[in-house]
Amino acid sequence: MISLKEMAKKEDLFVSGHEMCPGCGIPVILKIVLRTTKCPLVVSNASGCLQSASTNFPATSWKLNWIHTAVENAAGTMSGIQATYSSLKKQGKLPVDKKIKFLVIGGDGATYDSGLRSISGAMERGEDFVYLCYDNQLYACSGGQRSSATPMGAATTTSPSGNVLPGKLQPRKNISNIFAAHEIPYVAQSAPWIWQDLYKKAERAFETTGPAYLNVLNPCPSMWKAPANKSIEITKLAADTCVWPIFEIKDGTKVTVNYKPKKKLPVTLWLESQARFTHLLKVENNWIVKKIQEEVDKDWEFLISSENKNRTN
């Protein structure tokens, strides 16, 4: 397992000068992920917080080849890039053994919603790329609208809480399972608090031939209405309440749960940590808290049983 000291020695490809909000998890996630490969990198970056806040004139944080795409097209653009490199190799214009890594990055809006089509296509075609989703569970860049990653009960500007509705009514899309169902070689879910796990998973993703998907919980104090200095702790709370399990799935079926809380905490602790859930703590909204707990329990049990199934097989 890599130590902090070793990691610090590696070159930082995402440097200061960006304008991400205080407490935002994106820089932490990127600084870890980009350290895990020595190969030259091409990054295709969907529109969103990362793209806009990392490239404000006159600065850029990127010390690598970087292409910005419209929100729904990051994977599609990368399809063309990596296909062309393989053609150039065949044509003898590039050395056959030249290793180039392709990293596609998008937020949850670009991944769960509008970009899903082009990611799914690239995965089905078995293209060799790593997809990194920084998942802060809503559209933060355009002012905080719900996405299909927004958890049940969260209030956003387009799933407001009021007398009639208690925020978003639907649970979040289980995107990691959707991509696992493409039977791609590697799918992993992680979070910045468990940084060694994230490092290991990113390393594995880059080593994988074929598509690899990393879903990383990205704390968003501005939109979660949470204290900026508690960001990392909140992502830990997400794991301890099993709201955001830490796991990986190889070849679509082999599930490993990488973190099991010693004591599974009630979801209320996670809900209390962010003001976007405050309305749920009212007595009349008890039913939705109960429902959230049920959903979390169901998903967690399914995950554990999937892991056990591998063992017995």
């Binding site: 419209a70 729904e72 355009s142 299909s148 500007t157 387009t158 799933s159 009021g162």
Partner: protein
Amino acid sequence: MSGIGNINYKKDVKLRKHYLKKLENSTRFLLGDEAAAYGALYAGCDFFAGYPITPASEIAEVMAKELPRVDGYFVQMEDEISSISAVIGAVWAGGKAMTATSGPGFSLMQENLGYAIMTETPCVIINVQRSGPSTGQATKPAQGDVLQARWGTHGDHEIIAFSPASVQESFTLTIDAFNAAEKYRTPVILLMDGEIGHLRENITFPPVEDVLLKERRIGEPGTLPFGGEAIPPMSTFGQGRFVHVTGSTHKANGMRDVSTESVHRELVTRLCGKINNAREELSRVEEDYVDGARVGVLAYGATARPAKGAVIEARKRGCAVDMLRLITLWPFPEEAVKEFANRVDRIFVPEMNLGQISREVERFTSKPVIPVSKIGGVIHTVDEILEQVIGK
């Protein structure tokens, strides 16, 4: 097989009236975006589908909050392609529906915009224009989608587009857009710009009774849903017979026929004709003419505001200037522009693009048309236009 049954369209009228009664005659301090959303609520909009995008998100945000209060339905879709698809579906189920977006989303909607034209689906699409191409200056206003609104979707077609110059007008033109959509059975574009969308001004909501709404014409069973007259009445699902809707070339009864030359020719000619023939009725302009003017300023949307300032200032300095503000952009108000051009020796056209409407103006006059273009995300100042109009 049983049908869906007749829909009781009068049922929700009471709730909506009750809701609007609380608004009427009140004065609020709103964004252009918000005013457009309230305009839609006044117009009886039942359904909104959209996707977050600056500077149009506030329209969706108001609809998310307010539509449920009148038992309407707000849905956030996974992209703009689905948003306009949902709007088209909502209309065929019998609803009045709208979506709102900005340039990048409007680009994604182009295919279905053509579908809505071809299937004669009345709906409203608001494009709060921002600086492009592509992501451009995402948070900055522009008027660069004027020709895209006209020609963005493929194939021969005509389009209706209005351009508001104030928050109050965002409200009224949204209602007018719904009315025009129903009257001509076609999609109507409200071509706002980010400047007006994010401008905050006083707006007074009119009395509910003063707002005239054009209700959808539903044909009796047996009438042809896609022909037989210039603007055929609609048939929606649930009227006791099966409706057949297709974006392919179709006959008056809706059946697909993509091989008969005359069927396609007659259909597309009729679709273009119904808007072309109503050009005069649809052409709305605001004329501000003075005696003896030799110079004219033609503007629309947010740019009409500094243009008006320049005209007032020029007149103060003894220079007689005429001003024409276009409210309708498409179909292009040809007659009004010709008449305006006849009055003056040369025409200045300030726009927040590199010259889109100015090119259209040139088609209707032989007099010099001078674009006063400005791009980069900042609206013209009065002085910038004045300098051009009266010289330094």
